[in-house]
């Protein structure tokens, strides 16, 4: 079933309501303008608007079901500095919202930290782990913004800890709050569970497709590609799978079934690659209620992406291609 056939009515519906009201006003103005007439038209318009918002409301509540757990704050502790001060350092307070899996609560732990000019948030967390509390868990690896391990919320914003300067986020207040992403399930402290994220990525079949699979492994020469063809998909190939875009996405946070901006942007990345022969099948795999049509174009994914990928643009472009395809069919 191609969802875009129905999705198109969504848009017709949204535009249709104000259009109807407009028509009624015109009619009321041109017709016999008695007080009773005008009043009854206003009443009718009111009922229609009420009905329309009601439908939207029911739709959204349905999405919200079974999503986020309530956030409860557990213990709060404060600690002294874990590293030495020098005349080049400035002391900041790093507050870590640690997820405690046994109590299902967030414990707030604060550490003083002597930050140098180039200290990153990740470096401060690892120092705290080594010399403050060994049991703190952080996921990290390359510390150069390319492996995608250390996505977290720093002062409420989606960031990679390894490329965030500690003094810059501490600013004048001298405090930094670090917490795990809430758009993914939690494991421990600052560490999220990525299993469902990887499943979503896999569900839309990324990977270059060729009609003749064996040729992929045996063709003796490169597939040619011009610089212009490269530019069409290159910006979407920078995705490091850090998961920050899903954390930022309001739809993912209310409807866990929505595949989310990451996997959809990758559909577009392969769809636009001149070497790919997946063709329309690729588009159709995203043509579902929880695929491209789940996106409400908030744009927060593109704002959160640390690598400059623009998933929300990719999703709207996929929608446009799907609608073009449907209109061609009809």
């Amino acid at each position: 079933m191609r969802y875009s056939k129905y999705a198109i009515f969504n848009y017709v519906g949204i535009l249709g309501v104000p259009f109807l009201i407009f028509l009624m006003f015109i009619y009321a103005y041109l017709g016999s303008p008695t007080a009773v007439n005008i009043l009854s038209y206003f009443l009718l318009a009111g009922i229609m608007i009420f009905a329309a918002t009601g439908v939207k409301e029911v739709y959204l509540t349905k999405k919200l079901e079974g999503s986020k757990q309530p956030i409860i704050t557990g213990e709060t502790t404060e600690h002294n500095a874990v590293n030495k001060a020098s005349h080049d350092t400035r002391q900041v307070t790093v507050t870590i919202k640690r997820f405690n899996s046994s109590t299902n609560q967030f414990d707030n732990t604060s550490y003083k930290f002597n930050a140098a000019k180039h200290t990153t948030v990740l470096e401060s967390l690892l120092s705290i782990k080594a010399y403050g509390d060994n049991s703190l868990s952080v996921r990290c690896n390359c510390r150069m913004g390319i492996c995608g391990s250390c996505g977290m919320n720093i002062n409420g914003k989606q960031k990679l800890a390894c490329e965030t300067n500690l003094l810059e986020v501490a600013e004048d207040t001298g405090t930094v709050e670090v917490s795990p992403m809430l758009g993914h399930p939690l494991l421990k402290d600052l560490v999220n569970d990525f299993d469902s994220f990887f499943e979503k990525h896999k569900s839309l079949h990324p990977g270059l497709e060729r009609r003749n699979e064996t040729e992929k492994f045996t063709a003796p020469k490169e597939y040619k590609q011009s610089a212009e063809q490269l530019d069409k998909y290159l910006p979407y190939s920078y995705c490091i799978m850090c998961g920050l875009c899903l954390d930022a996405c309001p739809v993912v946070n209310s409807n866990p079934k929505f595949v989310g901006p990451q996997s959809l942007s990758q559909v577009y990345r392969y769809y636009m690659d001149s070497r790919d022969q997946g063709g329309k099948g690729r588009l159709f795999s995203a043509d579902t209620e929880d695929g491209v049509w789940g996106c409400e174009f908030a744009g927060s994914c593109s704002k959160a992406c640390p690598k400059g990928v623009n998933p929300s643009a990719a999703i709207q472009l996929l929608k446009a291609d799907l609608i073009k395809d449907i209109s061609k069919e009809e």
Binding site: N134, R139, M144, E163, G207, F217, L230, Y238, R275
Partner: protein, 579 residues
């Protein structure tokens, strides 16, 4: 304890591991049961950090290149310690690998006719390094990952930390791994196994490498009695960012960047007149350290590190944006420095370990210096086939990983499917004992913080086994490592929890680092010459008469036992190494 059976287990998920998985799956036509076990999320392995590119002769006519020339450059770069039959395998296989990566989606930079563009690299006579901006390793990893997840016979175990390989009568028959998510130990039984766990540059503190590069596979093999080869040869990359050690690709010099000292002079003129900044890495690293020692460097206040400048200001701004976007991103984000406007502070950092698990030319792990094992392979940086000898040329590592990934994947799965032996039923007990050994750290009532030991080890290695080495320093390092080993017996693990216990994992990693640091130091003390990356002040010359041989290190009751094996010299006789 869960027991999982597979025809083939691949330990490690970098370019070598994933390439092996793909070719094992393809060549068995999907009939083999394959597992990839990684202590990371599979797509986050350190291979993503490879920047500059992958070497291979793609267009011999237009580039005036040949496989023979590639082989010559590699052998000369290795300071004649590379086995020349292995180098032949590398240069013959490399072009096919670049094409394969094109077929699975790597966005190569292109020439006008749609051909793959190639850039100059250190020690290469002509431009033969294919690249995707300066994120080549990342793009190769993403392409491999997206390919391998589409295979139904390949199971991926993310974040499973392997603690030991199970050997039964000299045959590897499985391994024990702890699932990091819940600290559950699992036993994997296999008919064939490939180790692809990467290098061990994290025995040093100032390194370009990811936190994960602790050489777990190499250390496990060593403890099981497998010989390691050429462990004294550790590559220092000339251009690592000060103070973080983040890699600034050699491609920055390949694109025309200069190295400049505090007098504003391009000092490489005095060290390698013809190749200048594009001399091999060992030579450039020595030049930088010599300049700093002679007082012609700068000093970073924050870290007290000496450095020189990598200057890209004269390069076309568009070229920097198109060919070196990541370098710009890194310097902007970590130092607030635009490479088009200011020079970049750099100094040599540990980058690659030429040594590793002793294998034959087909990647089969040797059970003793001269006999190959059955059922066990090693590929990528953890293996020492020996193609890099005493010094690796930039961009030869990605080709090595993919060439031997393919060879070992294809051979190992063939072996597994032909193997008549079933899975060992006694293995469960053994695995349980090994798992409880790893977990015993949790019960230890020690008083030593493991991270303190790690940091002291880093200081020791950074000071005493760096670009220039001397006997006094190396012997001091050996003593220090021995005392650290003693103190390590008294470590404590604070985190007793089951969920994502990185404290336990890292303590086990530190144990691996101590083992490997000791081997590196022992091998270095005993090689009484200077060759490639190993330079000893007391023996400043290369000594082909006595030292044209590989070091083999094996575990013994008294520590590390050394022996030597001859180098395979074919076409290229050793000559003076000048650039």
């Amino acid at each position: 304890m869960d027991i999982l059976d597979y025809d083939l287990i691949i330990l490690g998920s970098g370019i070598a591991g994933l390439t092996a998985a793909i070719h094992a799956y393809r060549s068995s036509k999907g009939s083999a049961k394959i597992a990839i076990i990684s202590k990371l999320h599979v797509m986050r392995s350190h291979s993503v950090a490879a920047e500059g590119g992958i070497s291979g002769v793609l267009y011999p006519e237009s580039n005036n290149d040949s496989q023979k020339l590639h082989a010559y450059d590699t052998v000369k770069g290795s300071d004649y310690l590379a086995d020349q039959d292995a180098v032949d395998v590398l240069v013959k296989g490399a072009p096919k690998e670049i094409e394969f990566f094109d077929h699975i989606g790597v966005p190569w930079n292109r020439l006008e006719q749609g051909h793959i563009s190639q850039r100059p690299f250190g020690g290469m006579s002509v431009p033969r390094t294919a690249f995707a901006a300066d994120k080549t390793g990342f793009f190769m990893m993403r392409a491999l990952y997206d390919e391998v997840i589409s295979y139904n016979g390949v199971d991926i175990f993310n974040e499973h930390f392997a603690t030991s390989i199970i050997f039964d009568k000299g045959k590897a028959s499985g391994l024990v791994a702890i699932d990091l998510a819940n600290r559950q130990a699992k036993a994997f039984r296999s008919k064939a196994m490939i180790i692809a766990t990467g290098g061990f540059s994290r025995v040093y503190g100032f390194t370009t490498n990811s936190y994960s590069n602790t050489g777990d596979g190499t250390a496990m093999a060593f403890r099981a009695g497998i010989p390691l080869k050429d462990m004294e040869f550790v590559q220092f990359h000339p251009t690592a960012l000060v103070p973080s050690g983040i890699l600034i690709t050699e491609a920055a010099r390949g694109e025309g960047g200069y190295l400049v000292n505090s007098e504003g002079k391009r000092f490489m003129e005095s060290y390698a007149k013809s190749k200048m900044e594009l001399a091999p890495r060992d030579i450039v690293s020595r030049a930088i350290i010599s300049e700093i020692k002679a007082g012609r460097g700068f000093e970073d206040k924050e870290s007290a590190m000496g450095y020189v400048y990598l200057d890209l200001r004269h390069l076309d701004k568009e070229k920097v944006d198109e060919h070196l976007p990541m370098i710009k991103e890194i310097t902007m984000k970590t130092l607030r420095l635009d490479p088009s406007e200011a020079p970049i502070p750099i100094r040599p950092a540990t980058h690659f370990t030429m040594g590793g698990i002793h294998t034959d030319i087909g990647g089969r792990v040797m059970i003793n210096p001269t006999r190959a094992s059955t059922g066990l392979w090693a590929a990528g940086e953890c293996a020492c086939v020996s193609v890099h000898g005493a010094n690796r040329l930039g961009s030869n590592s990605l080709s090595q990983c993919s060439v031997w990934g393919r060879i070992t994947g294809t051979d190992a799965v063939k072996y597994a499917l032909n193997s008549s032996s079933g899975f060992d039923s006694r293995l469960k007990k053994l695995a349980e004992r090994m798992a409880s050994q790893a977990e015993s750290f949790l019960e230890m009532k020690g008083d030593v913080n493991p991270y303190e030991i790690r940091d002291e080890l880093h200081d020791t290695m950074d000071t005493n086994l760096y670009v220039y080495r001397d006997m006094k320093g190396m012997i001091a390092a050996k003593r220090k490592i021995q005392s650290l080993r003693k103190r390590f017996m008294r470590v404590y693990v604070s985190d007793k929890g089951k969920a994502y216990n990185t404290n336990l994992k890292e303590t086990l990693e530190i144990a691996n680092l101590i083992d490997l640091a000791e081997v590196v130091t022992e091998c270095a003390i005993n090689r009484k010459e200077s060759r490639g990356s190993h330079v000893v002040i007391e023996h400043p010359k290369r000594d082909d008469k006595n030292w044209m041989k590989h070091t083999i290190a094996q575990k013994s009751i008294r520590g590390v036992k050394l022996s030597y094996l001859p180098v395979k010299v074919l076409k290229f006789q050793p000559e003076e190494r000048k650039y």
